[in-house]
């Protein structure tokens, strides 16, 4: 039994790696139709595994749980890899943004199914208005020049508070409009079921990401001026602050539905494999498209050598801020996916200690390798929870705790054997940088070049 399970788990992990390889391979195909078809097949294969045929199901509910968690983890970890692996800024704040995303999205849909449209309206108005105001202030400050960082930060903060105030007012005003259409929890109205609810969920994920991104902008403006190590400590502080706010969300914050330390229950479980897969692919595509462009090269040049990057005309501060914002956007979206899969949010799962998990995954998979991060997100969860927990569970009730001994040992071994991470900087298929070949056309310049042959 144990042996069979061990083999089964290893087969599952290998199958997942093959699956990731397959997705990345099919996405690299030149034909649009092949790409789309391949992705549909990739989605369908897992969907089929999740479907029950009588009593038979390839992926049981435990596996599917891991699958959803892994896809949410992929999104956070990719964001962190953008910030840490590609831009070189050591952030421990991604778990805080993950938490913000989870609670924001959960609050939107929870209120929605309970006949309260304010969650959606306030967050939607707030984030959109906030984005407009923050961009406006940013443009203005670029014109004025020489404004000290803290003054700029104060301006941004005032702008955000104003946006928040308007949003709350808008919520109060528009709230009655939706009331009759939403119904109550027991008798859902026309907007609280079916496709409209799916749309609201979609919006909730996006808005949660944007909201987290805006918070990260506010945090990043003052904090990114610090050196990398200090930035790490400051962002760790941020994660702790977010966690404390979660624990006290019903007392010091006006959100009784979040129930503070007792945990938020009753979040509609809207995350299906379709949404998890969809948002994961979106994040992968966005990140790859950014990295394999001029902006991506600028981001990586900051990691390599800040002084040289400055001398090449790269806006260091802007580049750091941008990768931090995009990374936090991914974290927020990941959080939203997680919240609607698990249906229950406890501040304990957003503790800063748990917040080291994405960091471990990024280092484990290889700093600066997107493929490594994706593979490690899936492999890590299936190894830690899927394999070790169940395997050890058969040796006694307390035995699973040993996984926290075995798993750091595994990490230690890997770091000794492969300090560059599982995949180093290797990328698969779609994520590979395009190799540029020298063209065959005549080079007019080289004829009168002095003899500088290597």
């Amino acid at each position: 039994m144990e042996f069979g399970f061990l083999v089964g788990s290893i087969v599952k992990i290998l199958a997942l790696l093959a699956y990731i390889y397959g997705i990345l391979w099919v996405m690299a195909q030149p034909s649009r139709w092949v790409k789309a078809g391949g992705l549909i097949v990739a989605f369908g294969v897992v969907q089929l595994g999740l479907t029950k045929f009588g009593n038979f199901q390839i992926l049981n509910s435990f596996d599917s749980g891991l699958l959803f968690q892994a896809s949410a983890m992929t999104m956070v970890a990719l964001g962190l890899n953008l910030i840490y692996g590609f831009n070189g800024q050591f952030s421990l704040g991604q778990w805080g943004f993950y938490g913000i995303g989870a609670y924001t999205a959960a609050d939107i849909t929870y209120r929605w199914v309970n006949g309260d449209a304010r969650g959606l309206v306030v967050i939607a108005v707030g984030t959109i208005l906030g984005a407009v105001i923050l961009t406006g202030i940013n443009k203005l400050l670029n014109k004025i020049r020489g404004v000290p960082v803290m003054s700029a930060f104060t301006l941004y903060l005032i702008g955000s508070i104003a946006a928040g105030y308007v949003a709350v007012m808008a919520g109060k005003l528009l709230f009655p409009v939706f009331q009759p259409l939403l119904g109550t929890n027991l008798e859902p109205g026309i907007l609280a079921t079916g496709i409209p609810l799916q749309v609201v969920f979609f919006l909730a994920v996006i808005l949660a990401g944007v909201f987290a991104a805006e918070i990260s902008f506010l945090l990043g403006v003052p904090v990114l001026t610090l050196g990398s190590d200090y930035f790490g400590i400051a962002t760790l502080g941020f994660t702790i602050v977010v966690n404390v706010l979660m624990v006290n969300s019903d007392t010091i914050l006006p959100f009784p539905e979040m129930k503070g330390g007792r945990g938020m229950v009753g979040i509609p479980k809207l995350t299906t494999w379709f949404w998890a897969f969809f948002f994961m692919i979106v994040v992968i595509v966005i990140m790859r498209n950014i990295l394999r462009s001029s902006t991506g090269r600028a981001i990586m040049s900051v990691r390599e050598d800040e002084t040289a990057a400055k001398a090449m005309g790269i806006d260091i501060a802007g580049s750091k801020l941008m990768s931090f914002i995009i990374g936090s956007l991914f974290a927020g979206m990941g959080g939203a996916i997680y919240a609607h899969f698990i249906g229950f949010l406890s501040p304990g799962s957003f503790d800063f200690l748990v917040g080291f998990n994405p960091l471990i995954i990024v280092v484990f998979g290889g700093l600066g390798s997107m493929t490594g991060t994706i593979a490690a997100s899936f492999g890590w969860l299936f190894f830690l929870e899927g394999l070790l927990r169940v395997l050890l569970g058969q040796m006694g009730t307390e035995a699973p705790t040993w996984r926290y001994v075995l798993y750091p040992l595994t990490l230690l071994l890997l770091m000794l054997i492969r300090p560059q991470g599982l995949l180093g900087t290797v990328e698969w298929g779609f994520l590979k940088a395009k190799e540029v070949l020298v063209r065959q056309k005549p080079k007019p310049a080289s004829t009168d070049t002095p003899a500088v042959q290597a």
Partner: protein, 265 residues
Amino acid sequence: MENNTSSPTILKVEGLTKYFGGLGAVQNFEMVLKQGDLNGLIGPNGAGKTTVFNLITGIYVPTRGLIEFDGTSTAGREPFEITRSGIARTFQNIRLFSNLSVLDNVRIAYHPHAGYSLTDSVLRTKRFYVKEDELTEQALDFLAIFGLEGIQNELAKNLPYGQQRRVEIARALAANPKLLLLDEPAAGMNPKEIIELMDLIHFIHDRFNLTILLIEHQMRVVMGICRYITVMDFGQVIARGNPKEIQANQRVVEAYLGKGAGHAA
């Protein structure tokens, strides 16, 4: 100053002073570069030459003094903005982006004028492909000029020293500068490489219609290619003139060899 009197002034430095704590690294430095000059800045170790470069490129903020590039003061501008206005440089100890390919090193210089936005790259619009191909072509052209074709996909850190120097110069030129600052380009090169480098500097100076200011220790290089030389010692300018005048200047000889060296010889 002496040469190219008819050309417009491209860089004017007046009363430039930089203190690090109580140490006057650069004091009352003055310099005028005309369009098309190929000038040298020399002096013993620690004379403040690299500090002058860092002040011109905005990496250090001057304690006092004025730097005017192309008619406008660089005061209060970020280093990247100064670069974008047309000053590019290389570094004394090569600073390539070591874990990026040679091609990417050069393509980074195109970032400020890449011609497509973040939205274009996220959505992979047609403009992205067109502009990206364009700048890749240009970068490959630069690599070809510097005899670096065929190694565009190598990581910069894997190149031999001489090639790294050339990639660094290619990268600086790709930023499309009007003024190029070279900080000890011949450091660590063998005599053959130095001759190639001198040819190369002459070539890029003519081909790209550049103004070049270079710091160098190898007198052969300085005397061989610079038309006008400024000599610094202990943060101050001690002599100016063409190579012949500088070689004959007593203070310069003293700065390099010490007082009384002439008698000893």
